[in-house]
């Protein structure tokens, strides 16, 4: 059955005891590209993925993945998807090659084709040298790469990546990002969950932000940033002793609160962008010239776009860090 949507979910509900992990979630993911499901810990990201990957039955609502219902046609869904869970789902006592062979044989490749495919993937993921070693000796980044390799032994039409870079060092992170981009270029739709907002910003064409099991915002990273309607002005001074004076001058000129940063020469202020941006940029220009007239030297100033952290704050009234500690306490 041809369908333009990789995922169509409506009014999904999943309850664990008294917790409504997924609470009336709607999702429409077009085929092609990388789609981000964003939210703090405990927002319902993993449960949503588990429902879509046929691992958990929803209590209510329905979901179609590539045209097939997840509850009535799980086998047809499984034949078209691949799942890379939050924790590397590898057999750690087996070698890298054996893990890929297992996957390939289960998916119906002949012995020979399985061996060729395993060797090809190990090479593509830079794991040839480690191919014969037990996975328990692999680093976190190597495990994650092998895990993704195992997910694409046969190309899935849709790949679920649940927090693919959680716990990885910056180098491994960028390697995983590169893999995700390549997969998307080669025609696989990728749905990835993340709590790193810069990750969604770098990889995803579209983002859905969820919290408490429901969708709270949707759009391109640019749309979401524009919806906040403000950016951040960063100012650095030459002398720390000027900071209090500079703060007073800028607050008068901009009409907003100016925050001192931990760095003793830095100040930041949230300023409007978008439709009201003209007025804001005039005010900023005015503030800058007043600073120099007062004899205060700036070393740098910059007007930044809002980060997705700020988007999250604007949407929920909480930062992602707060949301996280909240769930940890609960």
């Amino acid at each position: 059955m041809a369908t333009a949507f990789a995922i169509e979910a409506s009014r999904l509900v999943k309850t664990f005891g008294v917790t409504r992990a997924v609470d009336g979630l709607d999702l429409a993911v077009p085929q092609g590209g990388v789609f981000g499901l964003l939210g703090p810990n405990g927002a319902g990201k993993t449960t949503t993925i588990r429902i879509l990957a046929t691992l958990t039955r929803p209590d209510a609502g329905s979901a179609r993945v590539l045209g097939h219902d997840v509850t009535t046609g799980p086998h047809a869904v499984r034949a078209r998807i691949s799942l890379t869970g939050q924790f590397a789902s590898l057999d750690t006592s087996l070698t890298g090659t054996e893990n890929l062979l297992l996957q390939a044989r289960l998916l119906g490749l002949s012995r020979r084709a399985a061996r060729e495919r395993a060797a090809g993937l190990l090479a593509a993921f830079g794991l040839t040298d480690a191919a014969g070693r037990a996975v328990k000796a692999y680093s976190g980044g190597m495990r994650r790469r092998l895990d993704i390799a195992a997910s694409i032994v046969v190309r899935p039409a849709l790949l679920f990546l649940d927090e693919p870079t959680t716990g990885l060092d910056p180098h491994s992170r960028s390697q995983v990002w590169e893999m995700v981009r390549r997969l998307a270029r080669e025609g696989t739709t990728v749905l990835l969950t993340t709590q790193y907002l810069d990750e969604a910003d770098r990889l995803c064409g579209r983002i859905t932000v969820i919290d408490h099991g429901t969708v709270i915002a949707e759009g391109t990273p640019g749309d979401l940033k524009a919806s906040v309607g403000s950016g951040v002005l960063h100012v650095r001074l030459a002398e720390p002793r000027d900071r209090d004076r500079a703060r007073q001058i800028l607050e008068l000129a901009l009409g907003v609160t100016v925050q001192p940063e931990p760095d003793p020469v830095a100040l930041t202020a949230r300023v409007s962008t978008g439709a009201e941006g003209q007025a804001a940029s005039d005010a900023i220009a005015q503030g800058m010239s007043q600073l120099s007239r007062a004899g205060i030297t700036m070393t740098t100033f910059a007007l930044g776009q809002p980060s997705l952290d700020e988007v999250f704050l604007a949407l929920t009234g909480r930062t992602t860090a707060n949301a996280e500690s909240e769930t940890n306490v609960a």
Binding site: R50, A53, T54, L55, T56, H75, A76, R78, A79, R80, I81, S82, L83, G85, Q86, F87, A88, S89, L90, D91, T92, S93, L94, T95, E98, L102, A104, R105, L106, L107, G108, L109, S110, A113, A114, E116, R117, G120, L121, A123, A124, A134, A150, I152, V154, R155, P156, A157, M179, R182, L183, E186, G187, T188
Partner: protein, 271 residues
Amino acid sequence: MSATIAPETLTVPEHDPLPQPRVVRNSLTMGWRALLKTRHEPELMTDAIAIPVLFTLLFTYLFGGALSGSTHQYLGSLLPGTLVMSLLLITVSAGVSLNTDRTSGTLDRFRSLPIWQPAVIAGNLIGDMARYLLAAALVLGMGLLMGYRPAGGAGGVTLALALILVFGFSVSWIWTSLGLVLRSAQAVSVISFAVQVPLTFASNVFVNPATMPGWLHAFVDANPVSHLVTAERALMNGTAAASQVGWVLLASAGLIAVFGPLTMRLYRTRP
């Protein structure tokens, strides 16, 4: 399926629109995986081999004379018992491995594959059976070195091994159910050990129940391990065994009827 790729491509064409689950092939692949684990970590089988081998040696030479008049005579009744003991120790590994897969997330991957789903459990059971045959060969081999000559001959021994495998297969389902419920692989091992020790010792494996007090005698008579051991002795030593064999087969069928569906249900529904 054409799966030839240049290393620089990450993906290959998708599979056929709907690959069908293959019962035998998927199970054998999973069984291959279970045996690979044993090959990489043979030390995990130490208990299941060392305990029966040691017990056969120790009990025969320490107590054989006292219990049966001669070590040789005692060995003939002990060896079928230590084979059963070895079997019981091995049956738990399918449950342990299923639990490890569940807690590590490996089960999630298998459950999202277009395969015959029970193959995940069948593979572990195949692994158990293969490991058991290996352990049994070692225990039997040592028995032969110690002078054991089964009166039932090769045929009797083969039937005895077949019966013990049937029973082992059915007991494994208890531990696979537990493996899907308990929080850690250690918990599965500890609980199975706590169940197995009384069942093994309060049986007719080591000592003739006629010497025991009445209440213990009653327990030993009801203990399924005793029935299996009696059947094994009869088959290996070439005496009549029909009713004991029948009893063991019935017990096995009962265990599978309860714990088979339970395991499959837990497998489908436990997150």
